[in-house]
């Protein structure tokens, strides 16, 4: 078996394991949203179309930023699979030449980069002549690649770039200039020394423990915050096009955020059970669980409030806020039924809305 054959085998195996881990979530999405999956794909192409042609360059830049944030979330989940993280030392024990390893990494990145495929499909469908009239789209595709590669080896640079690029959105820049700045910032960020966030309280309580947990498992929060913001932002863009439909979308934003924040209950409950005896030995087990629920509620409330401010939510969104304890209880006590509970709540809410 050659090294490249090994990488392909490892990639397939790791992907299979990842899908097994995501099995419940994937099943939930496919069961509840299978009717909407073609719509979701169409929405992605709609977004890419907005990059090619939009009423304003500013909107195009916003959509580009949103797509690059989305690709970062997706690729970060796949990163351990792409790099075969678990056996990285083994790679170096096999191969003297680092470039062979990097070539294999990048090849697998390109295979895994679904959003890049979609951009290429759109570019091919447009044809050469039309593509030349939208050179910034070519720049966007190249940025998708450069950002993907940076994420593999300099993830901090990607985070710094996304933050800086978000600030740059407030400036009047052409799409090409925006992408040039984006890549320049990313290149410079690659040379920034690793920033370590440290929080080390001297007197630790269950509350400061959860803060430490959030710092340590920041990815759990980052993807949830980003996904919540992306959904709010996508609905805001749709709302700008079809304001009369906005009131149908806003409860869905609140419900979607409810699902992803309630799912934090599954992860934290798993963590609590793994360390149950430690907390019991401190006589803090009950307090820890109460603090867990407060923590999840606060995060959801912040997400809900952002949606309420930006989209102007109605009474039904308030009803959804009242459903939070139910779903939190499901996530911590019957996690395997979370999807069903959420689905039931969503259907009931929309049924009530349609009837009233």
């Amino acid at each position: 078996m050659t090294y490249l054959q090994y990488r392909i085998t490892a990639y397939r195996y790791a992907l299979k394991t990842l899908f097994k881990q995501l099995n419940q979530f994937a099943l939930m999405i496919s069961t509840l949203f299978y009717i909407f999956l073609p719509g979701l794909i169409a929405a992605m192409f709609f977004g890419l179309g907005k990059i090619v042609q939009s009423d304003s360059e500013h909107t195009s830049s916003q959509v580009m930023w949103g797509c690059l944030l989305l690709q970062t979330l997706l690729l970060n989940v796949l990163k351990p699979v792409i790099l075969d993280d678990a056996h990285r030392m083994f790679h170096h024990s096999l191969i003297k030449n680092k470039s062979t390893i990097i070539t294999a990494d990048i090849a697998q990145l390109l295979i895994s980069h679904v959003l890049l495929w979609m951009s290429i499909v759109l570019a091919l469908a447009m044809g050469f002549d039309k593509l030349m009239k939208a050179p910034h789209f070519v720049g966007f595709v190249l940025t998708q690649v450069s950002m993907g590669v940076t994420l593999l080896y300099r993830p901090q640079a990607v985070v710094l770039t996304l933050i800086t690029a978000f600030v740059l959105l407030s400036m009047t820049l052409s799409n090409l200039a925006y992408l040039a700045w984006f890549n320049a910032v990313m290149l410079m960020s690659c040379f920034v020394k690793p920033i370590r966030l440290s929080y080390s309280p001297t007197q630790l309580t269950v509350w400061s423990f959860w803060i430490l947990y959030c710092v340590h498992y920041s990815w759990s929060l980052i993807w949830r915050v980003s996904a919540s913001l992306l959904v709010i932002w996508a609905v805001a863009i749709i709302g700008a096009e079809r304001p009369e439909l906005l009131h149908w979308y806003t409860p869905m934003v609140a419900l979607f955020a409810l699902l992803i924040w309630a799912s934090l209950g599954i992860k934290t409950t798993q963590y609590i059970s793994e360390h149950r005896l430690f907390w019991v030995s401190l006589k803090q087990f009950g307090t820890l669980k109460k603090a867990q629920h407060v923590l999840i509620f606060v995060w959801y409330f912040l997400s809900w409030l952002t949606g309420a401010i930006l989209l102007g939510m109605d009474g039904f969104s308030l009803v959804i806020l009242a459903q939070v304890p139910v779903l939190q209880w499901c996530a911590t006590n019957i996690p395997q039924r979370l999807a069903v509970c959420w689905g039931s709540l969503a259907v009931t809410t929309y049924l009530a809305k349609a009837l009233m």
Binding site: L204, F209, F278, Q284
Partner: protein, 195 residues
């Protein structure tokens, strides 16, 4: 002295104890038993960390509750959150049980330099030292140390033996290489059956 009466403990598919009784009558007792017989399970029950059992645990002939107030346990079965430092773990125990962090003993164990190390970065030997310090600092009349010498360096074992020699309460340990403990007066007692 610690006494177990008619203990029944079962996991989903495994019966660990059925009508089990034992009296740990020596003040320094090394509990012997092969791997997987249930020593650690018994220790967590005695320490009051596992309430899911039937039977009685008596301390000094009385059913004292909550057991946690009287028994401290050092065991791999009590995992520490890996993103906390050793000092943070000890300070939590100190706050919960109103006891002092045993800095002098930490110094003797050569652990002072690792107090600000994250649990995930501790070597297995230092992890064991943290477990021992965390249990010892509670000053309970009953102390249970599960495999106290596992992964410890020679000097560490000596310090622990020295400390145990002066401990006035009852101490139970499980150990597969018990000689250093037998040298300071520990008596062996099998998990099943009388001595």
């Amino acid at each position: 002295m610690i006494e177990i009466r008619q203990l029944h403990k079962q996991f989903a598919n495994k019966l660990v104890f059925e009508n089990y009784s034992n009296h740990f009558h020596c003040s320094k007792c090394c509990v012997l038993g092969e791997n997987g017989l249930g020593k650690t399970t018994l220790f967590t029950i005695i320490a009051g960390l596992d309430p899911h059992y039937h039977g009685q645990v008596l301390l000094g002939g009385e059913p004292k509750l909550p057991l946690q107030d009287y028994v401290a346990l050092a065991s791999d079965k009590v995992p520490f959150p890996e993103f906390l430092t050793a000092r943070q773990i000890l300070s939590m125990t100190s706050a919960s049980w109103q006891c002092d962090v045993p800095l002098a003993l930490a110094e003797q164990l050569g652990f002072t330099g690792f107090l600000d190390t994250f649990v995930k970065d501790l070597s297995s030997g230092n992890h064991k030292k943290l477990q021992l310090l965390n249990a010892i600092m509670r000053n309970t009349p009953y102390l249970i140390l599960d495999e106290p010498s596992a992964a410890l360096d020679h000097a560490g074992v000596e310090v622990i033996c020295q400390w145990l020699a002066s401990f006035t309460g009852q101490v139970l340990i499980s150990c597969h290489e018990p000689q250093p403990f037998l040298d300071i007066g520990f008596a062996t007692q099998p998990l099943f059956g009388k001595r």
